[in-house]
Symmetry: C2
Subunit: 412 residues, 2 copies
Amino acid sequence: MLQKELFTKTEKQSPKGEESKNAILLQRAGYIAKEMAGVYTFLPLGFLVLKKIEQIIREEMLKLGAFEIFMPSLTSESSWEKTKRAEMDVLFHLEGRDKSRLVLNPTHEEVITPLMKKYISSYKDLPISTFQFQNKFRNEPRAKSGILRTREFMMKDLYSFHQNENDLENFYEKVKENYFNIFERVGLKEQTVLTFASGGAFSKYSHEFQTICQAGEDIIHLCEKCGIAINSEIITEQRTCPQCGNSSLEVKKAVEVGNIFKLRTKFSESFALKFRTKEGQDDLVEMGCYGIGLGRLMGVIVEIYADEQGLVWPKEVAPFKAHLLCLGGDQERVMADKLYKELLAKNQEVLYDARDVSSGEKFADADLIGLPLRVILSEKTLSQDNVEIKERLSEKGELVKIKDLPKVLEEF
Amino acid sequence: MLQKELFTKTEKQSPKGEESKNAILLQRAGYIAKEMAGVYTFLPLGFLVLKKIEQIIREEMLKLGAFEIFMPSLTSESSWEKTKRAEMDVLFHLEGRDKSRLVLNPTHEEVITPLMKKYISSYKDLPISTFQFQNKFRNEPRAKSGILRTREFMMKDLYSFHQNENDLENFYEKVKENYFNIFERVGLKEQTVLTFASGGAFSKYSHEFQTICQAGEDIIHLCEKCGIAINSEIITEQRTCPQCGNSSLEVKKAVEVGNIFKLRTKFSESFALKFRTKEGQDDLVEMGCYGIGLGRLMGVIVEIYADEQGLVWPKEVAPFKAHLLCLGGDQERVMADKLYKELLAKNQEVLYDARDVSSGEKFADADLIGLPLRVILSEKTLSQDNVEIKERLSEKGELVKIKDLPKVLEEF
């Protein structure tokens, strides 16, 4: 993409009223724009990051054999009364012109459970798993962490349906692995720990995936022996690891980037979602739910990797792999244009800065936008048929022959 | 995809309380499920159709040089007051816990116009065009046409920003062509006519793309001479074609599948979206908006093509290209399994019915689901190393050598 065609512009000043690093940098670099507290637009660069994250998650969901669907944001309040959640204070309520009382969904158990009554009648119909990417809405009283906690956010939610606890347990374990694949691919594996959290009234524990991060609102107690953590919500007075009994736990701030939950029969009971067993009995369906917030994941990546100069994107989620900077005059421009076209023809994702601004401004913008690889073509490099390539966090660049660049990028 | 793995099931009975053909057939075939009046879930097959339509539209938008973004569903009511649209009766209003008054967007002028103030200051910044796919919300009093008119619907909206009317006009004409490409690709070109509609207070006309269809709620007056139409809303007493003056117009029912609109400076005025001209003057930005509802497009395709047996999908939007039916016993099953795997390996989109049900049920389901090509492998065809292929609307099938099928599908 030609940088001059991009309608967004970088800003030197931090936006007013933002405290969090992710909100400040993502706005300065033109990835997002604030509509109001806790509500953001994803601009072209931010949209590309969101889509990369979405595609990684989708691929991992399909590996589980789950089917993608798309559920609505509007539900009837009566469904929320059935599950006794109509009074939750994060719900947005609204009224239809036909006087119907509606809810804007913050999660979709109240949609998927009654829906499945149509398709589940026998043990032969199970297991089923199905997921979606859909905007969720939470009536947050204070939204102040940029895209880490918003009133409207894109989320992947997966729901699974089983004959018995054992089958649920097996699937749940698969999702756990699958989630670590996702966090690895987006560049957060190292910082993300499986964390025991409250299971509500119906399970001993749920599991959160907590990414250790200074910007986190959660406190976790990390067991370095087995690499898991306990959410401070459920830490007992003894403060011991529930897995190995270790009592020297480290306290860390963290952001919840995923949550998996054995719902068991809580929702199938509310909606009488039953199936006929092999033995001819009627039994309640066992359910699990598994969520990941896409915007939050993006925000955490910023919080963890960004430095004073700007954003730093891991390769797999960067909007473009490389930032090609043309410095110098007409001669450099001709060569850079040619190189850019060649890279495009080879399907390389490149942002090309051939704007008529100073080199200093180009460098500053490249650091702020934070693509993994900066490629400079200048009078000096061109005189030896070179470009200089530099990874975003490296101190020093290295010279590469112009003709070798397509291959270098391909293998990067 | 293996049909037995698909969790949805076809239904012989029409769903209760539905009148429209699209809602009845799409539910019977397992493409959508009703959450409540005017609110539907897209199930795996329906989701695939929606994604195909989305991808076609996206490709055409990118050809215009437009950038994809993602704007929120929530806006502040105050933005709607600025444009004097806060009282529109299709708006859903809601309240935040911080007492903020919010609106669920049915369209995004109130978001995109103030957003662009940040990025447009000079004539050098123009033109800009940007689009999104986002759920829209309309507080419809009566939703009764299935997915043709819903309270929540996925829509592509494109907005363009220009220095002057002439530049807007040029872009507008490009979008017009582009829209016909889209309708051609989804299989609706023949039935869709450019229709003059009300331009509101600020333009002489807007243009709708109306698809002639019995289920339509709009009435258009078709000029067969020049192939355009006039919406009955604006038809004058003379009833003449505004383009050629022809007065023998044909009255038709139609569904509005797209709308393009020169907004001119209506919204830039409300938000003071100005730019500095080459001559150093401040001037209001000229705007255009261009919409297509994805669910409505899908519904119209059903209304136009479906027959008594079920759905009929044009090739480019079908969830799968072919429906492979295995009839017979173990021997046929072994060969059909092999064939299915071969087709998958060649990236052919196939739904494979190897279920343990009668041939009659398989035929009925194939007709109901409506994939473009039905492929039968039976004892009779196998005995001569054949499969029988039949297009959904053909009376008769034809025999093709099993080994030739992958090539036949590829070229279909």
